[in-house]
């Protein structure tokens, strides 16, 4: 949407500040962890909160916004984690996060992209990935595995590693482990190997919508060609892009079920194809990845118009279902898996599910503002520590990488595990 299309939403931001907190009636359990927005907590100015972005956008369409370095900084120094969107929508009917995506797209269109992001996009255009690796090396993570090649064969299930798992060698055992679980369960599964390309989700989040749609089209075409019925990925970003963003941009892959690896693993557990035989005597806490949790809420696809009822009540025709962070599977399934492992004790962090604090890696922050990314992760690691857990479990390669980096840079130390690693320990 154009910024002008958000005009009434911009006007209706009241400056209540709810966007900076986790929802009051929901998850405010410990005063130390009441804040929900990393950007506003760290940089303090209202411009860094979602409310500030509404203000900047409104002033842009009113031709009174000077585009200074700080304007660009306020818009891009944010993980786009969606915490603000959930909290704002407790009190208001406005599309905060969608607007923030379009605000970034507008800045990019007007020539205000962040240099580090431009570098990322140049790398993406050249090598089809967001990690700066060579295209030819994309399939190296799966070397030696006996699995169908979707470039030559068809399969029921496609396994997609995603850029982070494909190029981050430390994460290869997780990607290989996830794929091996499917193979061992007798699933008809294949991979694209070095021909897999980026999902486009990260390009979308930093405002390069054209690049996103290009990759989306190509990926949807690949699914069709390989006759895929189910796409499974351990990458929360890819999952959200295929499931939510492709549908938002009317490119939903018809007839293909999009599943995060946790969803598939739960099915295998319930079908008796995965059996836990070993005890894992650990107290763990679970970190909800933004893209699997609140951002993974299905796209409701509303189309219609704003109308007034009862004289002036701002309503919609047909009634509009807003995305407010309600995603029971995204929150519940990883927890079900963890709780089904013998010996495990799951303890919750004060902020969880739709109110989870971001790991810090999203929205192009890790690439453009690495110190902010690790600060954000450090806050989460501290929160994890307060639960008394021995390990923090997550279900996203980006989260895992960023937590480990933060620990290496001095954040509070705790064992970081991907949920796949936990499942493997118990099998």
């Amino acid at each position: 949407m154009q910024l002008e299309d958000y005009k009434h939403d911009m006007q209706r931001c009241t400056r209540c500040t709810y966007c900076t907190w986790v929802p009051y009636q929901d998850q405010q359990k410990d005063r130390e962890f009441f804040k929900g927005c990393p950007s506003e907590k760290k940089y303090l100015w209202n411009s860094y909160a979602a409310a500030g972005k509404w203000n900047i956008g409104y002033s842009m369409i009113n031709d009174r916004m000077e585009m200074t370095d700080m304007t660009v900084d306020a818009v891009f120094r944010c993980q786009m984690c969606g915490s603000c969107d959930v909290s704002c929508k407790v009190v208001n009917d406005i599309e905060t996060l969608d607007f923030m995506y379009d605000l970034r797209a507008k800045l990019v269109e007007d020539g205000y992209a962040v240099p580090a992001h431009v570098e990322l996009i140049e790398g993406l255009r050249a090598e089809d990935n967001m990690l700066g690796g060579k295209k030819a090396n994309r399939g190296d993570w799966a070397k030696g595995m006996k699995v169908k090649d979707l470039n030559k064969e068809t399969a029921e299930v496609a396994f997609r590693a995603g850029c982070r798992f494909a190029y981050d060698e430390e994460l290869w055992p997780i990607a290989r482990g996830a794929l091996q679980i499917l193979i061992d369960a007798g699933i008809d599964v294949g991979i694209w190997g070095d021909q897999e390309v980026c999902c486009g989700g990260r390009a979308h989040s930093i405002g390069f919508v054209g690049d996103f749609t290009k990759y989306a089209e190509s990926n949807v075409e690949d699914l069709k060609k390989a006759g895929i019925k189910t796409l499974v990925t351990p990458c929360a970003d890819c999952y959200q892009a295929y499931k939510v963003l492709y549908e938002k941009y009317d490119m939903k892959p018809e007839g293909v079920e999009i599943l995060h690896i946790t969803e598939y693993i739960l099915r295998l557990i319930e079908a008796g194809k995965i059996k836990f035989t070993k005890e894992v005597p650990l107290t763990v806490t679970y970190h909800d990845p933004c893209h699997l949790g609140r951002l993974g809420e299905p796209w409701h696809g509303w189309k219609g118009k704003e109308v007034n009822k009862l004289g002036l009540l701002i309503c919609h025709e047909p009634p509009k279902k807003y995305r407010r962070g309600a995603n029971p599977d995204g929150y519940g399934i990883p927890r079900k898996i963890i709780e089904s492992i013998p010996g495990i004790t799951l303890v919750e962090m004060p902020r969880n599910r739709e109110a989870a604090w971001c790991c810090g890696a999203g929205g192009g922050v890790k690439e453009a503002y690495p110190e902010f990314a690790t600060w954000t992760a450090g806050e989460r690691l501290h929160e994890a520590h307060t639960t008394g857990a021995q390990a923090l479990v997550t279900a996203c390669g980006w989260c895992r990488r960023n937590f480990v980096d933060a620990i290496n840079e001095g954040a509070e130390d705790i064992e970081i595990l991907d949920i796949i690693e936990l499942v493997q320990k118990a099998m």
Partner: protein, 556 residues
């Protein structure tokens, strides 16, 4: 003249470069707020010259002294969630965003008080004092409202006024950077005997601190305040939960705490409603007591409309019940105490002739956070149409307010019928009992308007202007008091409330200006939402309208 580089660097020297900014990206986000369309003709108030984030009282003292020296104006804000927060009278105004001063300094349960810094909001304090079996007086705006803002600087009323009094009555002492930069400790704190009383030694400054409506930052910066806290009979850990497949708004407490009970009674007439509020209030049986402000708390407006239609079809008219009913919360430390209070309420309901509304356990659990902590009030105020108006509004005897209620209906309801205000059948009312009725009632006649709908703006202006008509012959509210929360929600150089209504009410504006002059001889504390030391005719000639300074004769 805008502030110069040298002036800016003098301020930067106090807090450091990270904590001051005049970048357009920052200041543009400190001039947009709800409620601005009325006084400013659009979403914008004048931009501040700079915004600063002080971290200590010493820094504030230094900032204020520089403002005095350099003829700059300063104004503090906490949440900033108020239409008067950002108002500036010229281009030399500095906003102090108090975000870095967010400490709860002390909770003294034995002596029933808590000491907080400027940014601590209502829910932050509520949550912490609950651990000590205590609760703080909540503000009507809800959990995000600042404790000090409500208690010391801006009109603060909440649902628990009945048992706790207006927020201004809960102040036991403050640390106060006066407009000339003097750090003053009020009340017993001044004598070094801790902050247990706002009065003495020497003359009391309580009235100057707060008055009725507060100075909205026009009298300096309150850096710390000691406020009263009261017994809380619920769990020390307030736990919220809800179904995983629902959004956050559906989450809340699972049941009403054992030592609390909610009742709602339909009295079928306003006269009986007012009588019941007075009589029940006087018995001191209730912790919370108000008119039955009721609205369906739904996910969004579409769901609200559907719920409204469904209720109407089921024969439930929540607008009428809100207009004629009473809602209350009884709290007691013991079962015997609870039974005694219930019996009192029952006897009064029977005597006046009211019908208890059936409230299921789930419904009571949903109502409890709204009634006790004002959760959900932000939704009702803003989500419906974008904005709300609370004029006419006043405090006083039930008889006076009943008259005002009738007069308010006469100007608000016709606009509802025309579709220029949200059609709630009757004007809505926020009607709460002050200090068990001994302090009369507080009443806000509420209507909902869309600031970006031309017809609705006209209706809003019509209601607001009638409510502040100084001409007793023509006003529908002759001698019913000052509009806009007693001039707590006005921009003086735009609305001219004190200037026009002062002569009607014993020239009170003269004395208010004397106070301003005494504590702010250099006119350094930004006065737009308070009062200037003297009226400057320039402010009759020029306006800030729709983002621009205009002369008054230019057509808006």
């Amino acid at each position: 003249m805008p502030i110069t580089d040298i002036e800016y660097y003098a301020l930067e020297d106090i807090v450091g470069a990270d904590y001051i900014s005049r970048d357009p990206a920052v200041i543009e986000c400190y001039c947009q707020c709800w409620g601005h369309v009325g006084p400013w003709g659009g979403k914008y108030s004048p931009r501040p010259a700079a915004v600063i984030l002080p971290g200590t009282t010493d820094e504030i003292e230094a900032i204020v002294k520089i403002c005095n020296k350099l003829d700059m104006r300063f104004k503090p804000l906490s949440s900033g969630f108020e239409s008067v927060t950002f108002a500036q009278c010229d281009d030399r105004g500095l906003l102090l965003d108090m975000k870095r001063m967010n400490r709860i300094v002390e909770i003294d349960a034995k002596n029933q008080r808590a000491v907080v810094e400027s940014y601590v909001n209502g829910w932050n304090l509520e949550h912490e004092v609950a651990k000590y079996g205590m609760m703080a007086a909540p503000i009507g705006v809800g959990p995000s409202g600042g404790v000090i803002a409500g208690a010391c600087c801006h009109f603060g009323a909440g649902n628990l006024n009945c048992s706790m009094g207006g927020l201004g009555r809960n102040v036991l002492g403050v640390e106060w950077v006066l407009p000339d930069g003097t750090v003053y400790t009020m009340g017993s704190g001044e004598g070094g005997t801790d902050w247990f009383s706002a009065d003495g030694p020497g003359p009391s400054m309580r009235g100057v601190l707060r008055g009725r409506a507060g100075a909205n930052g026009g009298h300096g910066v309150i850096t710390r305040a000691s406020v009263k806290i009261y017994p809380w009979y619920g769990d020390s850990e307030i736990t919220f939960a809800g179904p995983e497949d629902q959004s956050a708004i559906h989450k809340g407490i699972s049941s009403v705490p054992e030592r609390y009970k909610i009742f709602m009674v339909d009295f079928h007439s306003r006269e009986k409603q007012f009588e019941a509020l007075r009589k029940i209030g006087m018995t001191e049986a209730c912790q919370m007591l108000a008119g039955a402000l009721a609205f369906p708390l739904t996910e969004g407006n579409d769901e609200r409309y559907a719920a409204t239609v469904a209720l109407q079809e089921a024969g439930v008219d929540f607008n009428r019940v809100a207009d004629e009913g009473v809602v209350g919360v009884i709290a007691a430390e013991t079962e015997r105490g609870m039974a005694y209070r219930e019996a009192i309420v029952n006897s009064i309901v029977e005597e006046i002739g009211g019908d208890y509304m059936p409230l299921g356990e789930e419904q009571q659990a949903q109502m409890f956070p709204a009634l006790m902590w004002n959760f959900g009030y932000v939704i009702d105020a803003f989500r419906n149409t974008g904005d709300f108006l609370i004029s006419p509004t006043s405090e006083g005897s039930p008889e006076k307010l009943l008259n005002m209620r009738k007069a308010a209906d006469a100007i608000i309801t016709p606009e509802m019928r025309k579709g220029r205000l949200l059609d709630c059948d009757v004007s809505q009312v926020f009607l709460i009992v002050n200090e068990q009725g001994a302090g009369g009632f507080h009443m806000e006649n509420v209507c909902f308007w869309d600031p970006y709908n031309e017809d609705s703006v006209k209706a809003y202006l019509g209601v607001a202007m009638e409510a502040q008509n100084p001409d007793a012959e023509k006003s529908p509210f002759p001698h019913l008091g000052l509009p806009h929360l007693g001039a707590g929600l006005q921009i003086e150089w735009t609305h001219h409330v004190h200037e026009d209504l002062g002569p009607v009410y014993n020239n009170y504006d003269y004395w208010l200006r004397q106070v301003k002059h005494a504590i702010d001889p250099n006119n350094a504390a930004e006065w737009s939402a308070y009062i200037p030391e003297k009226y400057d005719p320039r402010f009759r000639d020029r306006v800030f309208w729709n983002g621009e300074w205009l002369s008054q004769d230019k057509e808006r």
